[in-house]
Amino acid sequence: MPIEVEDLRFSYGAADALGGVSLCIGDGERVAIVGATGSGKTTLVQHFNALLKPQRGRVVVDGIDIGARKADLREVRRRVGLVFQFPEYQLFEETVEADIAFGPKNFGMEPRVEEAMAMVGLPTALASRSPFSLSGGQMRRVAIAGVLATRPRHLVLDEPTAGLDPEGREELLARLLDLERTTIILVTHRMEEAARMDRVLVMASGGLVADERPRTLFAEEGRLARWALRAPDPVRLMHLLGLAGSVLTVDEAVDQVLARV
């Protein structure tokens, strides 16, 4: 069942952080949310898992209206896994294994720690180590595994690859996109990552200003600049070469250029 947002408004006190956002994300969709710093991405996705309640409007997750008085928020949180920005700061257990098992235990599920570790590419040898003895990138993977271990139907990731090395970033994202039957909502500042999703939502000053396939979105550079965004490098290269065509990735760009030569 989908995640539906209707005219959602939210403010932290001063100006509106979200000023009337409506959208619908279907089961199993791969969606990127992009937008300048402070445009409301984090605020929006925290509603998906009922950490914030709508001040106005509605958020319905798999048929559960999270604003309703008797809404089962636990159920919402079990269905929607949310990986925070810099999730490595939420680790607290003595071993990696215990930390990953924290979520499943809270939800009364059987913790399948090894499976979760495999999903993020962590060697099982690390299971008995203290999470605080790991590198930053490994800690990040442990934290993500801790959310994956609850087997959410919808997975929301707030900049999961920020601060990782290029190869690790690629590998982690590929693993996440491999998850089957899971909705993936990826908040990111990297347009190459957004380009790999089926759909890109653009946020600007608390509003949803575009909701398109990446190919369509990145084709028009003028609009992107207005939202403080930039098309991925291969797309910009093709524009600079004057080769108007719809490419997204380096491989596609190479094909197009070679076809011209």
């Binding site: 925290q46 898992n49 950490l51 636990r74 949180r77 079990r78 896994g81 949310l82 925070f84 999730p87 700061y89 939420q90 680790l91 607290f92 924290f102 979520g103 235990k105 809270n106 939800f107 605080f132 801790g146 959310v147 609850t150």
Partner: protein, 264 residues
């Protein structure tokens, strides 16, 4: 939800009290607190209350936030009152259920202690409400400076206070962030027995301490990188001078002391 917990946080303003030098305010507060515990007559307490209320009015603070700030200690005041009334021996004034006795001196003493606590709290929050933290710690340092010969590390104390104050909001934001992150993993901080709720704090406190230590470590490195080596030979960016207002405030405090001596 944590925002309300900050008691006595500076409220910007331009009242005569705001403009006083921090050193003046600290010394007056010190004198006031000493007077508070030396004055034993009702007339003396009335004078102390009048002085505090006068300062409060002068400071032109939003009354509501001052009252809200007093709320957390009301329990303490109530307990003090009750305990003193029950425990102080003397002629029995009231009898409840036959065996609980309340003595007249007990009531008197309890009330005096309650007033004292309220005044103590109000006076000290008046200082922090009207003085920016940086000025407060600078003032602290100058007031403690004469005691350096006795081995009081004036500069270090002031620096520690500055840093602690600086990090309160940061730690609060951090707490909220970690709480949300754990709630997303199904942690429940609001339901369950007392024991369960205490156990639920572990996933909050461990990351909080880890990040506090990390921050402290980073700060220490950053300070060392800028060649910080304590207060020796350090000069001030902002030089403060005592003025006529400070003299007047001091005179007011002396007048209060005079009144207290007279009504003794």
């Amino acid at each position: 939800m944590f925002k309300a917990a900050v008691i006595g946080q500076y409220i910007a303003g331009d009242s005569p009290i705001h403009r006083l030098d921090a050193r003046t305010k600290i010394l007056i507060l010190l004198a006031y607190v000493i007077a508070l515990f030396l004055a034993w007559t009702w007339a003396g307490q009335a004078a102390l209350v009048a002085f505090a209320v006068g300062c409060l009015l002068c400071a032109r603070l939003p009354v509501r936030s001052v009252i809200r700030g007093l709320r957390p200690i009301l329990w303490l005041v109530a307990i003090t009152l009750v305990l003193n009334a029950l425990m102080t021996p003397g002629p029995v004034a009231y009898r409840i259920l036959g065996f609980i006795t309340i003595s007249r001196p007990g009531i008197d003493f309890g009330l005096q202690m309650a007033v004292r606590l309220l005044l103590l709290f109000m006076a000290s929050s008046l200082l922090t409400l009207t003085t920016p933290p940086v000025e407060l710690t600078d003032g602290m340092e100058s007031v403690l400076n004469p005691f350096r010969r006795l081995g009081v590390p004036a500069h270090d104390i002031a620096m520690m206070m500055t840093i602690a104050l600086r990090f309160i909001p940061t730690l609060m934001t951090e707490t909220e962030r970690i709480m949300r992150a754990q709630a997303a993993r199904g942690a429940d901080f609001e339901h369950g027995s007392l024991g369960q709720r205490m156990r639920a704090m572990v996933p909050l406190l461990v990351p909080l301490f880890v990040s506090a230590f990390r921050r402290a470590d980073e700060l220490a490195t950053a300070m060392e990188a800028r060649a910080y080596r304590g207060g020796e030979g350090r000069t001030r960016w902002r030089q403060r001078h005592l003025g006529a207002a400070d003299a007047m405030a001091g005179a007011a405090m002396l007048a209060l002391v005079a009144v207290l001596v007279v009504v003794r």
